[in-house]
Symmetry: C2
Subunit: 150 residues, 2 copies
DNA sequence: ATAAGATCGTATCACATGAAACCAGAGGGG
DNA sequence: CCCCTCTGGTTTCATGTGATACGATCTTAT
């Protein structure tokens, strides 16, 4: 019998930890602002990048285009983003934060960062850098393998 | 404007990487054995621990009890696990791998480990240890905060 | 100019998932 | 012994999500 336990299996630990961290942040802004993860991501990107089309958002967030569409729709209904026609392409629109959207973004992002810092204060800056480097390598490796058999 | 980009946000990176790794492993045994993640986890734990009740499985896997129940049901239907009455408690049953279940487990787990090793060969043993330690700290920190405001 | 094909966004469907209701049995008092 | 509560397991329901199909528009080749 293989001695490796599920609880010690690295991918499993990564998943658990990642979920705990994301869940914590997600929980805060869900309860406080009523935003779900996809919506929050859109807000984050729009607040950072200015005016984008849905297509751009798909690329930026790595989310499904359906998810992007839905998130944009509710954000629009709630008055956080504004759609304006795209003069260069009749199919798509430009999306950007409204004043109230920008306002929300101004509160929400620092809040996420604050929670993040609370958690990550458990490790040293050196460790943080190490973590970043390691995750980078793993991601590259995973993508490389994925690419192989396709 | 806050200069931190979503793509650089650590929790985001963790999620992306973790998904890439898990997804890769999940993809393999889904296409090869037709097992979904919850089912695979149950197999892994049962193969490791022997005979357990659903309640034990919930505790061991941290999965929802509904998810556990569903996974057990399909595994039973496919003949990989066997239910026997629990003499000490008429409500629950003992679950254990059948011969064919044990057989499958014998193939599936090494396969997962192999894929895991392929990915994690991208980092050194020292880095792996470092990663384990860092994740541990983060998980503890997250859990501590979670516990606070509840 | 027109037809063919690609692309963006939207709607529809089928399935996965979690919450809550539910049932049967266990565990204690009284 | 009976009642009340608790708990393991199952079912149901409401919601979320991705794959797919679709319509409109853009692009390209003829």
């Amino acid at each position: 019998m293989n001695s490796t336990r599920l609880a010690d299996f690295m991918p499993y630990r990564m998943a658990i930890t990642s979920n705990a961290v994301s869940g914590l942040i997600a929980g805060e802004y869900r309860s406080e602002f009523g935003l779900k993860i996809p919506e929050w991501r859109i807000m984050a990107v729009l607040g950072d990048a200015g005016s984008l089309t849905q297509r751009d958002l798909v690329q930026a967030t790595l989310m499904d285009k359906v998810a992007v569409n839905r998130a944009c729709k509710v954000l629009e209904e709630r008055g956080f983003v504004h759609r304006s026609p795209n003069e260069h392409d009749g199919r798509s629109h430009h999306l950007e934060l409204t004043t109230s959207g920008r306002d929300l973004h101004g509160k929400i992002w620092p809040q996420a960062v604050e929670t993040y810092e609370k958690i990550f204060s458990a490790i040293t800056p050196r460790e943080l850098e190490k973590l970043r480097a390691i995750l980078d390598k793993l991601l590259k490796a995973a993508r490389a393998i994925e690419g192989d058999d396709k």
